[in-house]
């Protein structure tokens, strides 16, 4: 025990709710980092993120400003937190916050905080609005799409794609629409929630498969684990899933990493058609909320990312257990109101 090196790792995304952030799962994986005595610092946006209060997740949590406040206020807050905690590695877990963290990464490095994130170019290349061009360039199957800024553009797009078609928000959420009326409603709802543009995508029928993977930034794959959702919530989130044995899916992740030199964790959202063609539906530039399944299957991606961030060599994983299943559950935690009040008032617990 005494020979273990101490390491402090900060994670965001502690909102383990019905549409969960990956932070709690990432923290669990990092806690199992071999050879280290791990201290986890939670970074939360809201005082009611469950991960703040869950036993064995964050040793201490600090509130940070929303991404919309800009990178400067985030930096000021991180400087304060780092003075208290001396963070070694920081793992951002939300799409919407990544841009600010990528922008700040050189300054964070100067402060002794290591990250392992994609570059701005990598981050933007796989963005929803660029996905079609990106996949075409690299020879991946991808549904046709159209980025629109006005609801009046919908009829022409619908005539091109036919129904059903998928109307998607800039950051999150997608609605399968059977009629123009449904598409218009989805447009307004997603615009109000996530802003413009809206992406309209051709509907692909098939089995939804996800792959969680980790790239070393030089084209090599450290880990790739495919999963099929066994239970999907009304928000489209996996509430249960199982690891699959499919070398084609692992190869797809490897091809993506080779094509982009991807640095860090990511998730491929695929729709595999009945004739076996894997269509790229989305590429999420961070670990998914189900990332702890990779730990259960024998490839601890969050821990491997921490090692890479610390400059250590990481031997790529070669095998994982097929048929490992996760089942998410909800649980009523009981806390004292003082804990909540303290966090709300002081922005830390």
């Amino acid at each position: 025990m005494g020979s273990k090196k101490k390491i402090t790792v900060a994670v965001t995304g502690l909102n383990a709710v019905d549409s969960p952030g990956p932070g709690v799962a990432v923290a669990r994986g990092v806690r199992e980092l071999e050879g280290y005595d791990v201290r986890i610092i939670g970074l939360s946006y809201e005082a009611l993120e469950p991960g703040i209060y869950m036993e064995g997740i964050a040793d201490k949590t600090y509130q940070i400003p929303y991404p919309s406040a800009g990178s400067e206020s985030l930096m000021m807050r991180l400087e304060y937190i780092n003075e208290q905690e001396k963070i070694d590695v920081l793992i951002p877990n939300f799409d919407a916050e990544l841009y600010n963290f990528i922008k700040l990464s050189p300054k964070l490095k100067e402060m002794g905080i290591n990250t392992y994130m994609p570059t701005t170019e990598q981050f933007e290349a796989r963005d929803k609005v660029n996905l079609y061009a990106f996949c075409q360039k690299h020879g991946f199957y991808v549904p046709r799409d159209k980025t629109i800024y006005n609801v009046s553009e919908l009829p022409a797009v619908a005539a091109h794609f036919n129904y059903p078609m998928v109307v998607k928000g800039k950051y999150y959420e997608a609605v399968v629409c059977q009629t123009l009326d449904q598409a218009q409603k989805a447009f307004h709802k997603l615009e109000a929630k996530w802003g413009l543009p809206i992406i309209v995508q051709e509907y692909i029928s098939g089995t939804e498969i996800n792959v969680a993977a980790l790239g070393d930034g030089h084209g090599e794959t450290v880990s790739a684990v495919p999963m099929r959702k066994l239970f999907i919530t009304d928000k489209g989130k996996a509430w249960a899933g199982v690891t699959l044995e499919d070398s084609r899916l692992v190869k797809l992740a490897k091809d993506f990493i080779k094509a982009t030199n991807w640095r860090g964790g990511f998730e491929l959202e695929l729709m595999v058609t009945t004739d076996g063609r894997p269509y790229f539906m989305e590429i999420n530039p961070r670990f998914p909320a189900w990332i702890y399944l990779t730990v259960g299957a024998g490839q601890n991606q969050p821990a491997a990312l921490v090692k890479l961030a610390m400059g250590e060599k990481v031997k790529p994983y070669e095998t994982y257990e097929v048929g490992k299943t996760f089942i998410r559950y909800s649980w009523d935690m009981i806390i004292d109101i003082e804990q909540f009040q303290h966090f709300s008032a002081f922005g830390e617990n």
């Binding site: 089995t207 498969i209 999963m227 099929r228 699959l244 097929v322 048929g323």
Partner: protein
């Protein structure tokens, strides 16, 4: 017809296809058929074994077997290249 080699079958008749994550519950007769298929028995050998075990007409065995094989095929559980 051969069942895919990587299909996992439990004693209780639970089938798991590790390639696409599909899972199925099978009854006793179906479990017997799958177990025999995994032992590389021919269709004639399987039908004979079923007839010996269950007290039913040969024609019933034939029909049930064919229907079940069709169902396995419909669910992508059969090998198309002999693997």
């Amino acid at each position: 017809m051969k069942i895919l080699t990587n299909i996992a079958v439990s004693e209780s008749g639970y089938l798991f296809n590790p390639t696409n994550g599909d899972s199925f519950s099978s009854n006793l007769v179906a479990t017997d058929i799958i177990t025999l298929m995994k032992q590389n028995k021919t269709s004639d050998e399987i039908k004979k074994a079923l007839q010996a075990k269950y007290d039913v007409e040969k024609s019933t065995i034939e029909r049930d077997y064919d229907e079940f094989i069709q169902e396995l095929g419909d669910n992508y559980l059969l090998s198309t290249d002999g693997k």
